[in-house]
Amino acid sequence: MPDFFLYLAVMAGVTYLIRMLPLVLIKKKITNRFVLSFLHYIPYAVLTVMTVPACFYATGRIEPAVVGFIAALIPAWFNKGLPIVAACACGGALLTELFFVYVLPTI
């Protein structure tokens, strides 16, 4: 699968250059206010676009994903850190999925 290695080289190359060039080359601080502001907002914009609405389709059916999303939002709101937030997301989704598969049909 030679195509895969070309894709891998492109993505790894771009990602590494973005991280490496500023650390190795830039000695002065950036002063352009628009650039600074844009760079401040871009992480949150990117992560939001990737999460909403894709997150709701991350599990087989939509209900566990929505529950997992909300279960993650609550500890994140109180700044609980990555391991706890990730665990809540998975736990919420798993319990909901189990409910749909094993409990709901028996009711």
């Binding site: 492109v10 990602t15 830039i26 401040h40 907002y41 992480p43 999460t51 990555l82 798993l94």
Partner: protein, 239 residues
């Protein structure tokens, strides 16, 4: 004087644990998208970027354009450029040029947040301790996830797959809660993203381009409407 390798290791451990769960989800996702176990592992070991990798998988799996892949990685990972600029101001004299080439490779959101929150400048011993376990955790988690994706029942893998979004939620939510402008940026990005998903004419746009378009508009609008104060930190506090 200076922080030790040991302190770096200790500071990096919680990040390692978080990465284990998140990269486990990535491994499952990659294999589920048609990648081999070795391919999934290589993607993680050569990139070390959650969001970038997650966006790349559907692009590669669908045989997308190289330009789409390169541009999406550029926009998604642009935040690392700023973190590297900021980190370069926080390094002490023990950090040589060749150390910078290596450290840059694992300058993730969490590693940067910890390194830049130290009171004193950080040296190379501390940094190597700090990046060691998160890198191993990211790689090992991917490997385990890729293997487990074939073994674990769908009911479990489906639930674990959401962990990677949990990581994004953990990064964005506290900042959006504390800062109204960031909350507005998040809202704009979410609305635009939904438009591209649900409006028939827009839903044909490839996923990599959707991320670029929505994120650049949301961040660009807020950069004009609510520019950051020059005097303050040029890097989001916990990104």
């Amino acid at each position: 004087m200076g922080y030790t390798f040991r302190k770096g290791l200790i500071d990096g451990l919680p990040v390692c644990i978080g990465y284990l769960s998140v990269s486990f989800a990535f491994g499952i996702f990659a294999v589920g998208s048609g990648f081999g176990i070795a391919e999934a592992l290589m993607i993680s070991m050569f990139n070390v970027t959650s969001a970038g990798q997650l966006a790349a998988v559907p692009i590669i799996a669908s045989g997308g354009m190289m330009a789409e892949l390169a541009m999406s990685q550029l926009v998604i990972n642009l935040r690392y450029a700023l973190m590297s600029v900021s980190l370069s101001q926080r390094l002490d004299r023990t950090v040589r040029l060749r150390d910078r080439f290596l450290i840059a490779f694992v300058n993730t959101d969490e590693v940067f947040a910890i390194a830049s929150s130290q009171r004193e400048l950080v040296g190379r011993r501390y940094l190597y301790g700090l990046i060691l376990t998160p890198y191993l955790g990211w790689s090992l988690g991917t490997l385990l996830g890729a293997i487990a994706g074939d073994i674990l029942p769908t009911i479990v893998t489906a639930a674990l797959g959401i962990a990677i979004y949990g990581m994004f939620i953990a990064i964005v939510t506290p900042v959006a809660r504390a800062d109204r402008a960031t909350a507005a940026c998040v809202l704009i990005a979410a609305v635009l993203s939904c438009l591209f998903r649900y409006v028939p004419a827009l839903s044909a746009v490839p996923s990599g381009f959707v991320i670029i378009i929505c994120a650049v508009i949301a961040a660009g609008v807020m950069a004009v409407v609510a520019p950051v104060k020059i005097s303050s930190e040029e890097v989001p506090a916990d990104a």
